[in-house]
């Protein structure tokens, strides 16, 4: 039976009369990678801050490691905030040791682990350099090391991919995977669905402060109608040819007609292809469209709710 690391139950938070999070409930199970998805201003950061006890919910309860998010529980958590920064005038290794010690790691052990992780991240030669001499990418890696150096059981990353170039985004994905393989639980928020789709065992979708979905990626994708795009040069009316196989509508007329088929329940792309061949339809394009999380998100919350909020909370 899985162990619940974090549970939010009916949590709400309002700032200056404006609701940021409304009656949100979800849980994170041990060993899982959970994606917390939503547009900017959806309430992700506020939810994560409440998860750590940095903010107190107006209503509802938060349970971290089976109890309220007390300081002792924080030692078991590694948190990378969205607004990232470290002490610029300190040496790289000193920053890492400082954050490790705040989490209860002994000084010598903190230093040993810090140097080891710097080696792993290819930053061994800058261990004694001041943070202000590092490039932005290197400084972000140092902050990631500071988040992980105390070997937390539970890692919370708030928009970890924002501000990183594609190479470093890929490297961070590898880090997240390695942490999960080491048995650690990961919760990360993002508004970029592709990362979640590649990494997550489970996702929680949030929009305008409300939870829109909570389940696996496959379950989320299952919410989106499967679609096939067809292009034909014959005079067939595909709405007749494919009757009963789903919703069929014509996208473009002319010499090459484009038809879209939203597949009905139990129908797959092969059934559509077979029906077309049987009816002697002259196909110039047959393209089953693979749904993405973004489609699932738009489908679940609607286009308006999927758009970023004007003001980030």
């Amino acid at each position: 039976m899985s162990e619940t690391i974090l549970a939010l139950d009916g949590v709400s938070k309002t700032f200056n009369g404006k609701p940021a999070v409304r009656d949100v409930s979800f849980s994170v199970e041990r060993g899982q990678i959970t994606g917390f998805l939503g547009p900017n201003g959806a309430g992700k950061t506020t939810s994560l801050r409440m998860s750590l006890g940095i903010l107190t919910p107006d209503r509802g309860t938060v349970s971290l490691f089976g109890g309220p998010p007390r300081p002792a529980a924080l030692d078991r958590v590694g948190f990378l905030p969205e607004e990232r920064g470290i002490y610029r005038k300190m040496k790289v290794i000193d920053v890492i040791v400082f954050f490790a010690r705040l989490k209860g790691v002994a000084p010598a052990e903190a230093r040993r682990r810090g140097l080891q992780m710097l080696e792993e991240f290819g930053l061994a030669e800058v261990a004694e350099s001041k943070v202000k001499t590092l490039s932005k990418g290197m400084a972000q890696k140092v902050q990631i090391i500071s988040t992980l150096v105390h070997e937390p059981e539970f890692i919370i990353l708030d928009e970890p991919f924002s501000g990183l170039d594609p190479v470093n985004q890929n490297a961070l994905e590898q880090v997240v995977r390695r942490q999960a393989e080491a048995g650690r639980t990961v919760l990360f928020s993002t508004h970029v669905m592709e990362h979640a789709e590649r990494l997550c065992d489970k996702i929680v979708l949030i929009a305008k402060g409300r939870k829109a979905f909570d389940g696996t990626v496959a379950e989320a994708l299952g919410q989106v109608p499967r679609r096939v795009t067809l292009e034909i040069v014959s005079d067939h009316d595909l709405s007749r040819v494919l009757a009963g196989k789903g919703e069929v509508h014509r996208e473009a007329r002319g010499e090459h007609e484009v038809w879209i088929v939203d597949l009905g329940p139990g129908v797959d792309a092969q059934d559509i292809l077979k029906a077309c061949v049987d009816a002697d339809v002259k196909l110039t394009r047959f393209e089953p469209v693979r749904a993405h999380l973004h489609d699932a998100f738009v489908h679940l919350v609607g286009r308006e709710a999927a758009a970023p909020e004007a003001e980030t909370v």
Binding site: N16, I54, F79, G85, K89, K103
Partner: protein, 465 residues
């Protein structure tokens, strides 16, 4: 506690690693050394001035001038001896030291003979085109002074010099001439010179007595005023230390906010731990400065004590007055509470601001609040019982400074306890409020506009972004 210690330690080490800290550490002894040493250096580095004095009256004025100058120096020495006796007791060695000092002053100007009394012949020496032969070798002539009395009763002095700034010699001779003229006027009008001398020596015997004491013990000595001087000095010192330390806190907080480190910290430590850690870290910085300066002062004090003991001066009595536990204890207490109050406020201001420019708007009213005790302390020196000073000492933000001046002046216990209690309660409220503001500021739920909106009477309050 672990987090508070680690945050305080980091804060402390980050300051100790800066040039500014070491400059601050060394600046006080350096400036003190300069303060003491510069006058001596200036005195020693000032070249000996050689001057010619020509008395066109045949020596009458010249004799009178030097007689008056000697008498004037003796009067000054007596005044210094008298003041020293009041504070340090009667001591022959001290008297000799004062006489010696007066003699040293005299050595700055040396009268020489140029072999001529003609101005035109003296002019090249005055302009530096030629040098006079003196006992110290060839020297330029600093001044040529011509004394005359063209008509009886009208004494004139012509002072020739290219140096327009050093006017001590001119002043001394003018004063001596004035005294001589006044004396001669009295004598010419029939007043007996012995009577004049006796009149000059007349002085009332002033005894300052304390009605709380009886008989011999009632006599108030100058050394009894030392605690008041110490109180004022401590109040100013406290103000300077708090003022510089809270500025450190403010800039550190703004820097941390700008670096966006706070949220990372909040995932490891609670608001109150960060606030307390920072306050303690910077307090440790100021304590280091004070201990270092205090150590140097103690070494200096010990050296002075040795000298005073050698000179048979009642050093213990003076040191006891200077380091009176009745003043030192409250001074430490007032420093701690004052530092916590102002430190918490400045930390909260820092947490609301992204830049120093943002902070300036909020700093202005705080600066006014901090400047007021300076004026009140000055007022309290002369009028410790003034109603304004008494009322101001009850205003908690000013209590630490004003009470330090009032404490040595026998104020009522109710005032001491009441104002201290008010200050402590206010400090607790301020620290709590600063904690709330810090929490809001750290997470960008409030900024300087939020505070401004609180003071927009009748206007619509702005929401925090």
């Amino acid at each position: 506690m672990r987090n508070i210690y680690l945050i305080a330690r980091r804060e402390f080490l980050s300051y100790v690693a800066t040039w500014g800290f070491w400059l601050s550490l060394l600046s006080v002894p350096l400036f003190m050394a300069l303060g003491f040493g510069m006058p001596i250096l200036i005195e020693n580095s000032q070249p000996t001035r050689y001057y010619v004095l020509v008395d066109e009256t045949g020596g009458r004025l010249e004799e009178a001038v030097f007689e008056q100058i000697d008498r004037s120096r003796e009067d000054q020495a007596e005044q210094v001896r008298e003041a020293a006796r009041e504070i340090l007791g009667d001591n022959p060695q001290l008297g000799a030291a004062i006489d010696n000092s007066m003699q040293l002053d005299n050595d700055g100007y040396i009268r020489v003979e140029a072999g001529t009394t003609d101005l035109n012949e003296l002019r090249p020496y005055l302009t530096g085109d030629a040098e006079l032969e003196t006992a110290d070798g060839p020297q330029p002539l600093f001044a040529a002074i011509f004394l005359s009395e063209p008509v009886p009763g009208r004494v004139e002095m012509a002072y020739w010099s290219t140096n327009l700034t050093d006017r001590d010699l001119r002043r001394d001779i003018r004063d001596a001439l004035r005294d001589y003229m006044q004396l001669r006027h009295l004598v010419e009008n029939g007043v007996d010179p012995a009577l004049i001398e006796a009149a000059e020596d007349l002085e009332p015997v002033v005894r300052e007595l304390n009605p709380e004491r009886t008989d011999e013990a009632a006599e108030v000595t100058e050394s009894e005023r030392l605690p008041i001087v110490m109180g004022v000095a401590t109040a100013f010192g406290l103000w300077i230390v708090i003022f510089s330390v809270v500025n450190m806190l403010l800039t550190a907080m703004i820097e941390e906010k700008g670096n966006k480190v706070l949220e990372m910290m909040l995932a490891s430590a609670r608001h109150h731990e960060i606030l307390t850690g920072k306050l303690l870290g910077v307090a440790a910085v100021s304590a280091t400065l004070l201990i270092f300066w205090g150590g140097l002062a103690s070494i200096g004090g010990l050296a002075i004590q040795q000298l005073m003991a050698a000179a048979d001066i009642p050093a213990a009595e003076i040191l006891a007055a200077l380091f009176d536990p009745a003043l030192l204890g409250p001074a430490i207490g007032y420093f701690i509470v004052g530092y916590l109050m102002y430190g918490a406020v400045f930390l909260a201001i820092g947490s609301l601001c992204e830049t120093i420019q943002d902070a300036q708007t909020l700093m202005s009213p705080m600066m006014l609040v901090m400047m007021m005790p300076l004026f009140l302390v000055m007022m309290a020196i002369d009028a410790p019982d003034s109603p304004i000073v008494a009322i101001a000492s009850w205003i908690p933000l000013w209590t630490p400074f004003i009470m330090l001046v009032r404490l040595p002046q026998d104020i009522g216990m109710i005032e001491i306890i009441g104002s201290t209690l008010g200050m402590v309660v206010t400090a607790l409220i301020v620290i709590w409020g600063a904690g709330v503001l810090f929490r809001m500021g750290a997470l960008n739920q409030a900024n300087q506009d939020t505070v401004k909106s609180w003071f927009q009477f009748g206007g619509k309050k702005k929401a925090a972004s």
